[in-house]
């Protein structure tokens, strides 16, 4: 009971306090907490506006479209990598995860350079090759936004679904096949039903992320005046023509996010009510057997290559090209003569780079480790525990997803300005706390999907054999949940390395991070220098992913040797 209480108290501090700030802010005339008086004007003006509901409609289209793209691509790639005889699965895994290294707004900039109607590289090539009068693609469209946002979410979908796909009991598939089931029947009657919790959790997660994300709508949507709620919120904070950000209206809008999330959480809990149906990792012999793709193997490889081209190669190459240009110049032989390494030299000559890199790494390591550990605890309590209040703990771990990073950061400023016995305001630790809060929802969803597949007989057997709680956790639970923990760690680590909005708002004198450095170039109109930072950020994360893969292989070999 004590662990449950401690976890509950920690989650309440991390989540409920900022949420309370958000709610109170919605009822304040200016949105600033210490200002006198209360008002309903923010709510009535926001929800009484026809434009707001048009924004909701556009946001739903964008969110559902992006979720569908990411779920289909991420799910297919997870299945191909984990359960089929696709060649070089470790390489494919790295290729799928790699786009996490690219901040979404850099991905958006890359695709703008590739597909903008007048100067887009791909449009120009296609018009030249086929003698077209008009560009075939226009990135400045809802379809363009969905395409790029979907691409940016594929690694997240993959990382949630891959452990679930890996942990499926192969005997169920074998039983179906020996009973004469076709491939279609296998997919729809065995695999998809077994993956339901993971798929539903992933869909809910992606839907809400798409609902609140700003980078892609703000970069691609704004030029053609396609606005969604997130870009409207950002504008109210960053571009408000009024002297002070319109926090009151922003909080009023955010209340709807929270209400929508509560509805989704309820749906998720109903889905999970009979969680035992999905437990497939049992104490029985468990040996995944790759599904033979046969003639589809070449098609699968081509699909993976095409994804890699769209998500990594083309954006990275155009980013590299842009980083070599003195200004944003279209791809051409004439422009190639202007190529220079000046932006890269500037990157390394920047006196802030060393401190910013160190800050980014410390924050990312602390936040990702804490998120992974806390997510396992909350998942275990909410899925396997019997203590009262376990549903509340699950809901608390999920709630921050409904709160845009900009609002969490704003709330944390209030909280840690007021609570002076925790002197983290203006330091890297307040950023770490923000990331812990922001990414806890991802961690808890992922670990829920993993824990739900672990049969209770495993830890029951350990306890009956005399193992205590710590030994059971160390020798049974953590090793079985290791793929999920690693997935959470690497996902949160990568997202911490690229997160911008909260880091900017929480920036003090000595806590700048790499993305804030990148932003300083980008916002100053130095797209080319921003591209140079982006290139090195991608290279850095590639190294992280590479080390991660090596460690995973080493751990697998060690485990095999000790067995």
């Amino acid at each position: 009971m004590l662990p449950v209480l401690l976890t509950g108290a920690l989650l309440a501090w991390l989540v409920l306090v900022p949420l309370a700030v958000l709610v109170v802010s919605a009822f304040k005339p200016t949105g600033l907490l210490r200002d006198p008086g209360f008002t309903l004007a923010n709510l009535t003006e926001t929800y009484g506006s026809a434009q707001f509901w048009r924004l909701v409609g556009a946001t739903l289209q964008f969110a559902v479209g992006s979720t569908a793209v990411a779920l289909v691509l991420g799910g297919t790639l997870a299945w191909l990598t984990e359960r089929t005889d696709l060649p070089a699965p470790a390489l494919v895994r790295a290729m799928v995860i790699l786009p996490m290294a690219t901040p979404p707004f850099l991905l958006a900039i890359s695709w703008i350079i590739l597909l903008s109607p007048r100067t887009g590289v791909i449009n120009a090539l296609l018009m030249s090759a086929f003698g077209l009068d008009a560009p075939p693609f226009n990135i400045y469209s809802l379809g363009g936004m969905i395409f790029v946002e979907g691409l940016s979410l594929v690694p997240s979908a993959f990382l949630i679904l891959a452990p679930a796909a890996r942990n499926l009991d192969p005997s169920l598939e074998e039983s179906a096949l020996t009973s004469g089931a076709t491939t279609t029947q296998l997919v729809f009657r065995i695999i998809l039903p077994l993956l339901t919790p993971a798929l539903a959790g992933t869909a809910i997660f992606l839907l809400i992320v798409s609902f609140v994300v700003f980078d892609v709508p703000g970069t691609i949507g704004m030029p053609s005046r396609i606005f969604v709620l997130s870009s409207q919120i950002y504008s109210l904070v960053a571009d408000s023509p009024r002297g002070i950000p319109e926090y009151g209206k922003v909080s009023a809008m955010a209340l709807m996010f929270t209400a929508a999330l509560l509805a989704l959480t309820l749906a998720y809990h109903r889905l999970m009510r009979h969680a035992g149906r999905f437990a497939t990792v049992t104490g029985k012999a468990y040996r995944p057997r790759p599904f033979r793709l046969g003639r589809l193997r070449a098609l699968a490889v081509a699909g993976v290559v095409l994804y890699f081209l769209c998500a990594v190669a083309a954006p990275l190459l155009i980013l590299l090209w842009t980083s070599l240009m003195p200004f944003q110049a279209p791809l051409s032989v004439a422009a190639a003569k202007m190529a220079t390494l000046a932006n890269h030299r500037e990157f390394f000559a920047n006196p802030f780079i060393e401190a910013a890199t160190l800050n980014s790494i410390i924050v990312a390591v602390v936040a990702s480790t804490t998120v992974a550990a806390l997510s396992l605890v909350t998942a275990w309590i909410s899925i396997k525990g019997r203590a009262p209040g376990r549903r509340a703990i699950d809901a608390l771990a999920f709630l921050p997803l409904a709160m845009p990073g900009v609002l969490i950061a704003t709330a944390l400023i209030y909280v840690y300005l007021a609570v002076k016995i925790i002197p983290i305001y203006g330091t890297i630790w307040i950023i770490a706390v923000a990331y812990l809060t922001i990414y806890l929802s991802f961690g808890s969803r992922t670990m829920n999907a993993v824990v739900v597949q672990l049969h209770p007989e495993l830890d029951e057997a350990a306890r009956m054999s005399g193992a205590g709680l710590i030994a059971t956790v160390r020798r049974i639970i953590v090793p079985l949940a290791a793929p999920g923990l690693a997935a959470v760690f690497i996902w949160v680590f990568a997202h911490c390395l690229r997160e911008l909005t909260a880091a900017l708002l929480l920036q003090g004198a000595d806590n700048a991070t790499l993305p804030t450095l990148l932003y300083s170039y980008w916002s100053g109109g130095e797209t080319n220098k921003a591209a140079a930072v982006g290139v090195w950020l991608v290279i850095g994360l590639l190294a992280v992913v590479g080390v991660w893969q090596l460690l995973a292989r080493f751990a697998a070999r060690s485990a095999a040797a000790s067995a």
């Binding site: 904070v237 950000p245 279209p330 007021a418 100053g524 109109g525």
Partner: protein, 344 residues
């Protein structure tokens, strides 16, 4: 001769007295600044909030420290002006360390002053040119100047608009870019009237402009050729031009001006140092250091490049007291620009 001698003597005496007064005035002003500087050195660093990159601000701080080596500046980069104002309010009300100095527009300064968070000072006694002193709590430090920018490879000189109204010609349909903030459009209302600028904005929207989050991005996209032309800002076009991009720039009459003001935060850790810094930025030396680094100069200080570039062009601007008017109009026109439109 005698009369001439007496006249010469009186003139000389008067001249000496005047010179002595001027000298003593200068000396008094210099003393006042030195007194503040001496007090500032006994305190912590002057914390400066600004949205510009730290590399740029540190160059300015370096130039400032050549004159005042014992006053340290600590820079904290922050998001846009509104974010800075909100942060100062939050930190001041919580009794936490906050900025001593920042630069913002009237819309940000007025609510801060209403909350009694800004320090009023006798800027003349610190040698600040009276034309720069708008109110006791605000000194004109720099300005954003609206200019016409275009892609030199896509637009011939003969086709260039000579007035702002010519930017609404049908030839620019789908080829014009615009900053999402309607600050310059709103300022032009001072010359043309609010109804005219509402109509202007509607016509501009009918041309299906590309809307950009910042004027820096607008300048980049004009240089890249994604749009041909737009209403940009002088300082945000400078980095693109300096990089060798084919970006043209022209002042049109009237030139919309949005002055930004330096202010000292009352609850900042070193208001004395902040006053010295603001007084220094008001000198030609300080203004040139700021302009040379940020690219945004002060047209009110003779000898700056911005003042020379503006030359005889007619400048138009709402006064500081009209901040509420321009804020309201800016919000209205910005909302028009941001109204969702998927018909492009």
């Amino acid at each position: 001769m005698g009369l001439l001698h007496r006249l010469a003597g009186v003139t000389l005496a008067a001249g000496l007295i005047a010179a002595a007064q001027i000298f003593s005035g200068h000396a008094a002003r210099a003393d006042a600044v030195q007194d503040l500087a001496a007090a500032a050195t006994k305190k912590g660093p002057v914390i400066w909030y600004e949205s510009s990159p730290p590399e740029q601000i540190l160059k300015i701080a370096s130039a400032f420290n050549k004159r005042y080596p014992d006053i340290k500046i600590q820079f904290v980069r922050n998001t846009g002006g509104g974010g800075i104002a909100a942060r100062i309010i939050q930190e001041s009300e919580a009794g936490a360390a906050t900025a001593s100095f920042f630069i913002g527009d009237g819309a940000q300064l007025i609510p801060l002053n209403q909350r009694k968070l800004l320090l009023s000072s006798d800027w003349r006694s610190l040698g600040v040119d009276p034309t720069l002193v708008t109110t006791p709590y605000a000194v004109a430090a720099t300005a954003a100047l609206g200019v016409l920018i275009w892609n030199k490879q896509r637009v011939a000189d003969a086709d260039l608009p000579k007035t702002w109204d010519e930017l609404l010609a049908e030839r620019w349909r789908g080829k014009v870019g615009q900053w999402v903030r309607a600050a310059t459009l709103g300022t032009l209302a001072k010359a043309y009237g609010e109804p005219h600028m509402r109509d202007y904005t509607r016509k501009l929207i009918a041309l299906k402009p590309m809307i950009y989050a910042s004027t820096f991005q607008l300048a980049q996209q004009v240089a890249a050729g994604e749009v041909d032309i737009g209403m940009g800002l002088y300082h945000s076009a400078q980095p693109v031009i300096a990089a060798g991009a084919p970006l043209g720039l022209r002042f049109l009459d009237p030139t919309p001006v949005n002055t930004l003001y330096g202010a000292v935060v009352a609850k900042g850790g070193n208001p004395e140092g902040a006053q010295v810094l603001l007084a220094w930025l008001s000198t030609l030396e300080g203004a040139k250091a700021y302009e040379g680094t940020i690219g945004r100069g002060n047209p009110l200080i003779k000898g700056t490049e911005t003042a020379e570039r503006v030359g005889s062009h007619k400048l138009v601007e709402y006064s500081f007291e009209d901040a509420a008017t321009i804020e309201k109009l800016d919000a209205e026109l910005t909302a028009m620009l941001m109204a969702a439109d998927k018909t492009r």
